[in-house]
Structure formats: C-alpha cells, structure tokens
C-alpha cells in the first residue's frame, strides 16, 4: 500500500473537520507523532487481504433491541438545563449559527 505522508496541512485540515482549534506548536508536535503512529498501525492492511475474512464491528453478535413505546419519565427541564454553559428562557442559549451575510 502506498501511504501518503501526513503533512502539517493535513493535520490542520483534520483538526478543522473535528472542530479542534490547535496552536501552531500543537500542529508541529502532532505531525511527527501522528506519522509515527500511522506507520505503526499500517500493518493491519498486510493481513486484511486474506480471503474470506469478514469485518467484525462488535465483539459479540448484537441484534437490535426494541422497547415498548410507553411514556416514562425523563429529565425535567431544569435538570436538563442545569449543566448548560448558558441558558435563557428555559432553553439552551447558543452562539449564532448563521453568519451575518447569510
């Protein structure tokens, strides 16, 4: 397998996708460390070509579980809002979602 080298721009792009604001110094550190880790884990592809190997997503087979559709108590509004960084009028207060030009 040809493995693309992880660049500083790649790390910055991935961090943006994951909504992680990184400092310049963090970017420098992570480029090196993540490349080492990726080199080490790339060995998985060498055995994955073995024929007849289905992927395992969970350790034990799981089937979907349904519950009866009955009303049961949940959190009260106050309890749900108690841990919020900001609340207003009984709701979560969040920063603006759309920019001015939108």
């Amino acid at each position: 397998m040809t493995r693309p080298t992880l660049t500083r721009d790649d790390v910055a792009h991935l961090a943006h996708l994951a909504r992680l604001e990184l400092t310049e110094q963090e970017l420098d550190t992570y480029v090196g460390q993540l490349s080492v880790i990726l080199d080490s884990v790339a060995t998985v592809s060498s055995v994955a070509d073995t024929p007849g190997v289905e992927p395992t997503s969970h350790a034990v087979p799981l089937t979907n579980v349904y519950r009866d559709d009955v009303v049961r108590p949940g959190l009260t509004r106050d309890a749900a809002l108690a841990g919020a960084p900001a609340a207003e009028d009984g709701r979560f207060r969040v920063p603006q979602i759309l920019g001015e030009e939108q």
Partner: protein, 510 residues
C-alpha cells in the same frame, strides 16, 4: 481499630457489619480517615463524598438494626462496605469529570445503572477516582487534574486509565473499586499495583451512565485486593439492563461460587493455555520470571499446561489504535460546548462553530486531541478501507485465534502487562511506547472475552508487583474466577501473605 479496618477484605467487613461487630459508619470513617492521611501523596481521588458516604453507611446501619429487631432480614453480601468509583461513571449530584477540563464542575443529573446497583446493594460510595482523560492512557498521567502515584513507589505510575481506582485499593483507601476497561484499563492498573481486576464479557455489565470512549470495546468491571472480593462485586454490578442495548440478556454468572470452588476443589484437570505470542520480546525479565513461577504453581495444582498459537495477536495493537480513535472521535463529538460542560470564547461575535472549536481545543488534553485527529483520519473517505476496514478484519482474525485456542484450553494465561510500573514522566512524550503497555490486554478487548488480572508476585528485577492475566471464552467468567481463586490460594500457601499486603507502608500525613 481504624487501621485494622482498612486492611480487611470486603468479605470480612461485610460479615462483621452484618453481624453487628462493627457499624458501616465506623468502617466508612476509617476509610475516610485513611484517605485524609495518604491521598495527598497518592492522589487516587478527584472527589471525596464524605457526607454522602456517611449517610449511606447510616442507612445500612439502620437497616441492620431494624432487621435484627425483626429477626434478621436478607442483606446484600456487600452491604455497608465502602467503594471507590472511577470518575467516568456518573452519580447524580456528584462532580464527574472523566479526568477532563471540558467537564470540570459538571454535576450529572442521573445515576448510572452501575451506581444504582451499588447503592441498592448498600455499597458505600466514598468518592470518584482519577483516570486518564476519557480513559485514554496507560498511566493516569493524561488526567487534567494531575497524575495518581503508585502506592508501591510514589515516583511511579499506577497504570491507566483506571490508576486512581487501583491505587485506592493498593493504598488501603478502599477495599472495592469500579473500573472500566477498553483496552486494558482495569487489568494493567491491577497488574502494576498488585491488585485484582476483571474485565467482564463485553455486554456483561451495563454501560448506561458510563461516559463512552470506544463503544464496541468499553466494559465496566470490578476491582479489589482479593479474588473473592472482586467476585462479590462482580455479582452486584453484572446483569442485563434494558437501558443498554449492548447488555447481554443472560443470568449473572456465579463467580462467587466459582472462586470458592477454585479455593476448595482446585483446578486439577483443567487445561490452561499459555499464549505463545504474549511473551518474549518487549516483556521485562522480572515479569517473565514471575509468569513462569505462576505457570509452575498452576502445574503443581494439577492443571494441564498447553501452549497455544495465536498468530494474529501481533496485529492487535495496530487494529486497536485504529478502531479506538475512530470510535472516540465520534463519541467525543458530543462535547460541543452547547448543552453541558465548558464553553470558551462565547463573546457574542463568535459563531457556534468557532466557540465549539475553541472549547474543544482548550478543553481536551493532548492525548485526546491526538486520538480524535487519528480517528478522523482513519474514517476519512479514501482511507476508510485501508485503515478502519482492515482493522475490523484483523478483529475477525483475532477472534478466530481465540476460538481455536479455546478448543485446546479451558482458559488462557499471559502476563497482564509487559512491564512493571514505570516512572512518572518516562513515556509521556512517546505515544507509541505508551501504547505498548496494552500489548497483552488488547487481544481480549478486541474479541470481547472476559479477562482478569491477579497478582502473580513481585518482580525480582524491580521489586514491583506483576499481574497474571487469565482469559476465558465469552461468558466464561466462572472459569477464570475458578482459576484465579485457586491460584491466589496457592500463592498464599507459598508466600504466607498476598501481594497487596506486601506493599511498603505509606507515610501518613499528620
């Protein structure tokens, strides 16, 4: 009196409390005193719930008094015994951080199922224990609140991620603890602190109310200083929970009976497999010596030792460090600065997206960010098949290795950790070196099988405890506890004291 109570097993304390020889309040106070005396140095706890704990203890004492008046009522086998709860399991109204700044000050609005079961059983929750942030680590150094120190040597790590729970046991701050294990976070800390810990079969214990790391791997489990205490706690927390869709609808395994069977009837005729791939290169000499001595002990007890070949285990670490980051990058998306936890930079100008990025950038520590980026990469279009897809196939190959091995052996054994406790700071800047600590525990995690660590002795080269890992097939808890019980009895007969009782005395703060 107080010092004696903290040295006792949970089983003995429960008997004394039920028999009226000592009150749960006295037992709880003794442990709170011990925490006050040594936790400044050990730092096992992030939060101590003294008032709540004493209220719970008093409730047990009242129930016992009322039961005695009524001619004896049925008490839970651990009623009144104190426990340390890993700070990734929520308890209503008690600060829960998961070792992260992003949850600093958060008070959960509900109890985890494990918490409910503990409280219903009269187990007294002393407080919340330290961990690597979101359980990512093998040393507890990734906690945002500072590392926990190993009671055997305060300059060394107590393992991770459940280093706080393991250290609390080893420091005699609690006789019972709850851990969570994704790749070894119960077993490796147990090994390096000379304590016992079990990762049950995946789905054996409810995860409702446990902050998720990697959902296809995470499992809650019991920790203690003896095998019997671990089994008693296992039976309290295990069992089906309709609130966790991965919970297995089977009866709670009779692990307490299994331990007693191991202690009295032994293990003669059982086939014990030594995994060829889980020894040799990368394993410390003192660890291998202790492991070989354990094999000799099991042989002397009448077990038939066979060598088993698991050729795909060597890809386990690689597969794990693709699967785990992938799942954690998704699970940790919930920390978005909107509904709970930290919010940074909300200046009425910044957008929700900017606030989210700032908060996550500042609220998460280095290892968490590394794994989120790695997982985001592994799940990216174009790389998914080569990385995540391949890792899932390796998982199948490892599962097949176990299936083959369990046709030749009833249980499998290996060292739990390739090394004894290393120095604080020694591996923090080398993520790959840190990841190698989970070499022996990861295959069992990927296959979802039950596995536990019991102390195999003290390494001759480092003077620090070594763990013996015992693995069973899915739902094979009774087998591993039986072997663990037999091994512990044999060790006690040989050495006249169990490993936790051989730890050096901690200096007690005035």
């Amino acid at each position: 009196m107080s010092a004696d109570l903290t040295r006792m097993t949970a089983a003995a304390l429960a008997d004394m409390i039920a028999g009226g020889e000592v009150s749960s309040r006295e037992v709880t106070l003794a442990h709170l005193d011990r925490i006050a005396a040594v936790d400044g140095a050990v730092h096992a706890f992030l939060h101590v719930s003294a008032d709540r704990a004493l209220e719970q203890a008093d409730a047990v004492d009242r129930a016992i008094a009322a039961g005695a008046d009524a001619g004896g009522a049925s008490l839970s086998p651990l009623a009144g015994v104190p426990l340390a709860l890993k700070d990734i399991v929520v308890q209503q109204g008690v600060p829960t951080t998961a070792g992260s700044r992003i949850l600093e000050g958060w008070l959960p609005p509900y109890d985890a199922t494990v918490t409910t079961r503990l409280l219903d059983a009269g187990v007294v929750i002393l407080g919340k224990t330290n961990l690597d942030e979101f359980a990512m680590g093998s040393s507890t150094e990734n906690s945002a609140y500072g590392p926990t120190r190993n009671p055997w040597d305060l300059t060394r790590i107590p393992g991770g991620s459940g280093g706080g729970s393991a250290a609390a046991l080893a420091a005699f701050e609690a006789p019972l603890a709850i851990g969570t294990d994704t790749g070894g976070s119960i077993r490796q800390p147990a090994a390096v602190t000379g304590t016992v810990g079990t990762k049950p079969t995946y789905g054996g214990v409810s995860r409702y109310g446990v902050i998720a790391l990697a959902s296809s791997l995470d499992q809650v489990g019991p920790c203690a200083r003896t095998v019997l205490d671990t089994a008693l706690l296992h039976e309290v927390i295990a069992g089906h929970d309709p609130r966790d869709s991965t919970s297995i609808p089977t009866p709670v395994p009779s692990v307490v009976d299994a331990v007693r069977r191991g202690q009295t009837d032994g293990i003669a005729g059982m086939r014990i497999g030594v995994v060829k791939q889980l020894r040799g290169e990368g394993y410390q000499a003192g660890v291998l010596e202790s492991f070989d001595a354990a094999v000799a002990t099991l042989t002397a007890a009448g077990a038939e030792i066979v060598e088993v070949d698991c050729p795909h285990f060597r890809y386990g670490l690689a597969a794990y460090y693709l699967i785990l980051p992938s799942e954690c990058s998704s699970n940790l998306a919930r920390f978005d600065a909107m509904r709970y936890g930290l919010r940074v930079g909300d200046d009425a100008v910044a957008s929700a997206e900017q606030v989210m990025s700032r908060t996550r950038g500042q609220g998460f520590g280095a290892e968490v960010k590394r794994r989120i980026i790695l997982g985001t990469y592994a799940l990216s279009a174009g790389y998914y098949d080569a990385y995540y897809g391949s890792a899932q196939k390796v998982r199948t190959l490892i599962r097949r290795d176990f299936e083959n091995a369990f046709t030749a052996a009833d249980v499998l054994i290996s060292p739990s950790s390739p090394v004894t406790a290393f120095g604080i700071g020694e591996k923090v800047n080398d993520p790959m070196a840190m990841y190698l600590n989970d070499l022996a525990t990861i295959p069992g995690s990927l296959a979802g099988i039950p596995a536990m660590s019991v102390p195999s002795g003290i390494a001759a080269d480092s003077g620090l405890p070594v763990g013996l890992q015992i693995m069973g097939p899915a739902l094979g808890e009774e087998r591993i506890y039986r072997v663990a019980g037999a091994f512990e009895s044999a060790y006690l007969a040989q050495h006249s004291a169990l490993v936790p009782d051989r730890a050096p005395e901690l200096e007690v703060a005035a």
